[in-house]
Symmetry: C2
Subunit: 218 residues, 2 copies
């Protein structure tokens, strides 16, 4: 096998493919998808535009592959959290926020492109993205629902709405995180997970009036 010349060629092609995708991520992130051109990506790779078209069909194909990688990365995080044995539902939610944010901050540019530019995809591809995002929301909502069943979360709250708040917290952290500035990455992830899980978890017995939700002794 090691002497198979086709194997070395395939490995080289995969490596080039990865380089093309990484260059597209940097160019889309820096210029914005709309303003970025295939020429910019070729320049980044010191390639001729014609050679780059050996690897891709259109600029949108590159966007689509970036978005797909984000989908697949998030789905892998979900599977890893489901696979963990012996966790209560809130422990699982906590673990999910940790792992998902860890993934997001390691793919900060891809996540930004995902949220800013997935709407630029063709309708069929966009529908697929929306479906997978809805599945992601359902995953978080199901964790919250399981915590309600276990008596750990107020049964009166809407799991779908709180799932949105948890995911929104993560998107915001991703947007504001700048490596080397502010709190360290681990402190940020821990604070976000604590905030999200406690935000969901607290069980309130009475329905407080809007605007004055807390007992005087709080």
């Amino acid at each position: 096998m090691t002497s198979d010349p086709a194997r070395g060629l395939r490995r080289k092609a995969r490596k080039r493919d990865r380089e093309v995708l990484d260059a597209a991520v940097s160019v889309f992130f820096e210029h914005g998808y709309d303003a970025a051109s295939v020429q910019d990506i070729a320049d980044r790779l010191s390639m001729l535009k014609g050679s780059l078209y050996h690897y891709i069909e259109t600029k949108e194909d590159l966007l689509h592959r970036i978005v797909l990688e984000v989908n697949e990365g998030s789905e892998a995080v979900e599977r890893s959290v489901v696979a963990e044995p012996d966790l209560g539902p809130l422990q699982r939610l906590d673990l999910y926020v940790h792992r998902q944010l860890d993934y997001n901050l390691s793919h900060r540019k891809q996540i930004a492109i995902y949220f800013d530019d997935a709407a630029r995809l063709s309708p069929a591809r966009r529908r697929d993205v929306q479906y997978r995002l809805a599945e992601n929301e359902k995953f978080v909502a199901a964790l919250i629902h399981a915590a309600q069943d276990a008596g750990l979360v107020d049964p009166g709250l809407d799991p779908a709405l709180y799932a949105q708040l948890v995911l929104g917290t993560m998107v915001w952290v991703n947007r504001t995180y700048r490596p080397g500035r502010g709190p360290g990455r681990d402190a940020l992830i821990a604070a976000c997970a604590r905030y999200a899980v406690h935000g969901v978890a607290a069980v309130t017995q009475s329905r407080p009036a809007p605007g004055l939700a807390f007992d005087r002794n709080l």
Copy 2:
């Protein structure tokens, strides 16, 4: 006074001024600030571009006035929360989130323009915006700090970081809210305030290991 003809003229000028600003908000929101032109705003008002320049100097002036109104609106919310007597620090935080979100959702387009486009302002104006945003973060951090002093919030957490999470939750709600879709406006505001205040408030005694932050019995 009522017979003062200058008074009627001033009122008419103020009304026109308001219409110009409202048209700029709609045009910037729909087209994006960069793509929007003074001509678009004139068209929206059925005015000639030359007549519109009677009211403004540049497109950036309009952006600046929109951003200033957001600053002033937020500062008025803060003052109203400070003026409320006899509230504990977490009640005050809860009231702040309610009132600020209520303001934001009533000025959804202006808030979106503020976050998307304030960076387009000239350096001196941008510095003023950044200063006022930092003051807003300090206001929320001070509420959290007061809650720590009152023993209602874990003294180990960083008030500035949690202030960012609270403000981020509000920005996210503002971005995803679509009138007439999803949960009602009041339900959304109540959920967001509950999530944010409980996210900050929960007192944890031990420092849990990252990724497994909860006792098995949670």
